[in-house]
């Protein structure tokens, strides 16, 4: 059966291997350049004791390359659409399931081999792309400390492997259920995108209770160490209420990542903005206002990667189980 799977999908595998090789060469070459650029910048700024502002002055890599790396967020979805969707749907569509299932191999074994190999390929490709991106991003992560932020979190570490497994399983299941390749592909795109957005925006920040930190406006904010994830920031009034509310729109100025809704501040302080930010700060502090952030500390990065990967792997397992039931119980 392994040979049959290979014969059926070898051209897809070769195309994907070529694309991956090209991507790898690109990242390996530019990644080394970026690493040495970062090292020399670090060396020269340490000599002049001016490393504090390095994140704002040093630009690593080209914008095109950064965009390409950001776009790897769609790789799992592509695997699901082009590997998962057609895997079983195309056999139904062309009637070749009738050929395959009247040879001397049971449907269960046929399914196990096809699904097993394509999932393995999903892990290999998803893992390879993610490993390259993670390695390439090392100097950027060190410089900007943003790898826990949404966007970077989704393309580094182990979560892309979980996404790839889930997307491919989703494609397979949709194909087994609808028996139409195009429909399976469309369903894969829709469901995958929807679920990724829901998990990323609504679920992820609640994996562990966020920590909070309060700043006085009198001193520069002492931010959490390392690549923490700033989940939310707000100005809290003298009574402990959030000033301006969550839906505040209008001018605001930033204090340690916390937007200060200028329109909701006492009018006595507002007039001071144009004179001096420092006076504005002490005015707010004197009236009992302070800034508060809720955040996930950098130390939880791998715990969050693990939890999110676990969620998507579990969903993939459910989909595969459903596929096996549908294919072996339903008529060909």
């Amino acid at each position: 059966m392994t040979w049959v799977v290979w014969r059926q999908h070898r051209s897809q595998v070769l195309v994907a291997a070529a694309a991956l090789a090209l991507f790898a060469v690109l990242l390996l070459v530019t990644g080394r350049q970026m690493a040495s650029q970062y090292q020399s910048a670090l060396a020269s700024c340490s000599a002049s004791h001016s490393c504090a502002g390095l994140a704002n002055t040093l630009i690593l890599g080209s914008p095109v390359l950064s965009l390409l790396v950001t776009l790897t967020v769609v790789v799992p979805c592509l695997l699901g659409v082009f590997w998962g969707g057609p895997l079983i749907a195309r056999e139904f569509e062309n009637g070749t399931s009738q050929f395959a299932w009247t040879q001397g191999v049971s449907r269960g074994r046929w399914l196990t081999a096809k699904i097993g190999w394509v999932l393995l390929a999903a892990v290999a490709w998803g893992g390879a792309v993610s490993a390259l991106v993670t390695w390439w991003s090392t100097p950027v992560n060190a410089l900007k400390q943003q790898n826990f932020q949404p966007g970077q979190f989704d393309i580094q570490g182990i979560v892309p492997v979980g996404y790839a497994l889930f997307a491919v399983a989703l494609g397979i299941a949709a194909g087994a259920l609808f028996r139409r390749t195009l429909l399976a592909m469309a369903v894969t795109i829709g469901v995958f995108t929807f679920l990724r957005l829901v998990v990323g925006q609504d679920l992820r920040s609640h994996y562990l209770p966020a920590l909070t930190r309060t700043f006085s406006f009198l001193h520069p904010p002492v931010l959490p160490a390392g690549s923490y994830w700033l989940v939310a920031g707000a100005v809290v009034g003298p009574g402990g209420q959030v000033a301006g509310g969550a839906a505040h729109s209008g001018p605001s100025i930033s204090f340690g990542g916390v937007p200060i809704p200028v329109g909701s501040m006492p009018s006595a302080c507002r007039e001071l903005i144009f004179q001096s930010p420092l006076k504005f700060g002490s005015c707010l502090a004197a009236r009992g206002y302070r800034a508060q952030i809720s955040y996930q500390p950098a130390s939880r990065y791998w715990a969050f990667q693990g939890i999110e990967t676990g969620i998507f792997v579990a969903l993939a397992a459910v989909l595969i189980a459903a596929t096996v039931i549908v294919v072996t119980r339903r008529d060909a």
Binding site: M1, V4, T102
Partner: protein, 302 residues
Amino acid sequence: MAAGGPAVVETRGLSKRYRNVRALSDVTITVPEGRVSALIGPNGAGKTTLLRLLSALARPTGGEIAVLGMVPRSDPAFLRGVGFLAQEIPLYRRFSAEDHISIGAHLNARWDAASVRRRLEHLGIPPGQAVGTLSGGQRAQLALALTLAKRPRLLLLDEPVAALDPLARRQFLAHLAEAAADGDLTVVLSSHLVADLERTCDHLILLNAARVQLCGDIESVLAEHQVLVGPRKDTTAIERDHTLVQAVRTARQTTLLIRGNKPVTDPAFEASDVGLEELVLGYMGQHGGQAPAHLTAIGDDR
């Protein structure tokens, strides 16, 4: 009915429903070993459904079924004995004949690759060319050769010649007859074209509107029926002794297809033997597939 070897196919009260559609209803048939059985019926009679149940591609919703002494199921022990060729001749269009031979070799414990290659060479079918670029006749021949390479004991073919031109049809049936001749192969072959099957088959399953109308050795089935031609007159006396399959009445003449071996005593009627095509058309002409006595009148001018 003529006895054969042990039954290769045996069903009792078999039925299959698809949601609200009854595809097969109370089907009881027996196909003895070594027979080439013609599964005949109009489009939509349930021929494909029956073949799919026999090959374990679909599961019945009622009744009993035994193929080669086993309940059809998707496991190697059952699959090795049965070869199935679906109506649309499903092959991987981008793969060559040689690719299909390799796939078969990997998926079957018993596989006669040499026989397929011999057959391709004999028919002049290029083994390295993508199957999608072959003619319909070549594809059908390849598919049959692949199905036979399993060395099945039961071969199930669903309308294999329907899409072929007369020459390809003849070649295909010759190939089939050859395969059936050497060995204990049993064949069930569906078609709605009787002429194709008359030369190849020695057993008949007549299906109409989800029900079996006839099942048995063709010779004995034909011997059980007679055609009566006589003047237009009352036929209740004949219907008392025989089962009336079909009656065609014109202004002056009555033609009856009846079942039963008793001699017809009415001197006004002349009895003659019935041909396979006539018999099949007689049964198919009935409405709704009711019990065989249901009467059809054509050209009635009362």
